[in-house]
Symmetry: C2
Subunit: 208 residues, 2 copies
């Protein structure tokens, strides 16, 4: 499953340019809809030169996906068991939404891969993502046991946060068709973040 041949500095710079260009195309057109010559052009090189770094389109696709998964893992891992639950969840929701705003293509591409059954990323999800989720479920379970969180199913809560935050990147086409706004509008971004936090936190914090 060939790494890109990147020994030199110029090579590494090219790999980065290719990954960025590929992300845009794959997010917009999917694995099969994306065109290698278009990606090469966007990366500022010829098609054969692109294929010098990534031998096949599929290899490039997987490389793009794995780069995104890494960022996801880091954000999730940052939920701190020692923190105040409402603050920890607020921070995580904010970070996740901010990521969706800053890197909508990464969010979208990831979503498309998952929707299609994760044919390329299945292995990496099981190996890298699952253990972290398990750890965070344990954290939430602990908070619930201590009465610091309402007794909501922890896995469902995590998936709900992913669903709500990612939604605004993934479905931004629909959202902007319906509201005329995007997350690039700072006021709308803040309003959305506050609404999500209000909805999710209210359902999750213990009533006194």
């Amino acid at each position: 499953m060939g790494e890109p041949r990147t020994k030199t500095r110029v090579g590494e710079a090219n790999v980065e340019k290719i990954l960025d260009a590929a992300l845009t195309s794959f997010a917009r057109f999917g694995l099969h809809g994306a065109r290698t010559d278009q990606i090469a052009e966007a990366a500022g090189m010829s098609k054969p030169n692109l294929l010098y770094y990534f031998r096949t389109k599929e290899e490039l696709y997987l490389a793009v996906l794995k780069r995104t998964l890494g960022v996801w893992l880091d954000a999730l891992a940052e939920i701190d068991p020692q923190a105040e639950p409402s603050q920890a969840l607020t921070d995580y929701i904010s970070a996740k939404l901010e990521f969706s705003r800053a890197y909508p293509d990464q969010s979208r591409l990831f979503a498309m891969e998952i929707i299609q059954g994760a044919p390329w990323l299945k292995e990496a999800i099981l190996r890298d993502l699952a253990p972290i989720v398990e750890a965070k479920v344990a954290t939430l379970t602990g908070w619930i046991a201590e009465g610091r969180l309402a007794p909501v199913d922890p896995t469902t809560l995590i998936l709900t946060i992913w669903a709500t935050t990612q939604n605004f990147a993934d479905f931004s086409a629909q959202t902007s068709l319906l509201t005329g706004k995007t997350l690039d509008d700072p006021a709308y971004f803040d309003r959305t973040r506050d609404a999500i936090i209000a909805i999710v936190l209210a359902g999750v914090l213990p009533r006194e």
Copy 2:
């Protein structure tokens, strides 16, 4: 934009078989990844015969999408301004989740089209979906004004419900990788539904 040529009874039956088969393929592989001969085979006919009913792959794709959009519209339109808010939202969430369980491919295909910017469905969304959403936002705004609903942004609330419910169909690959469960498991389905309703309703109902 070419209706399928369906004058006879056998023709209509074939069109249905094609739409069903196409839904499966498009949801799994996307517009460009799906293969017409595979769809034809799944529909029990030859490829030229399929292309007799739908002149191009794209025409077939759009027909499949529009069939799904119709179902969506009906469910949303059913939210009754006269109803008790918590009951109306509970019913809508239940119906939406049930739809995602019963027709996961429709849910997934719709999601993929939206994520890619709705290149094929944009027009229909603006014409058919937007007005209904507008009407429902008005309903929610009324409930908020009457103090029967917490002052949450109505559009965000609707989008949140879509996000949470659809998520369990769209991301079922991820969910089942992480939990080992699918919505086909009745107990898991009920647990998920209750958790979503609890989270969303709690954040939205007015505190006394």
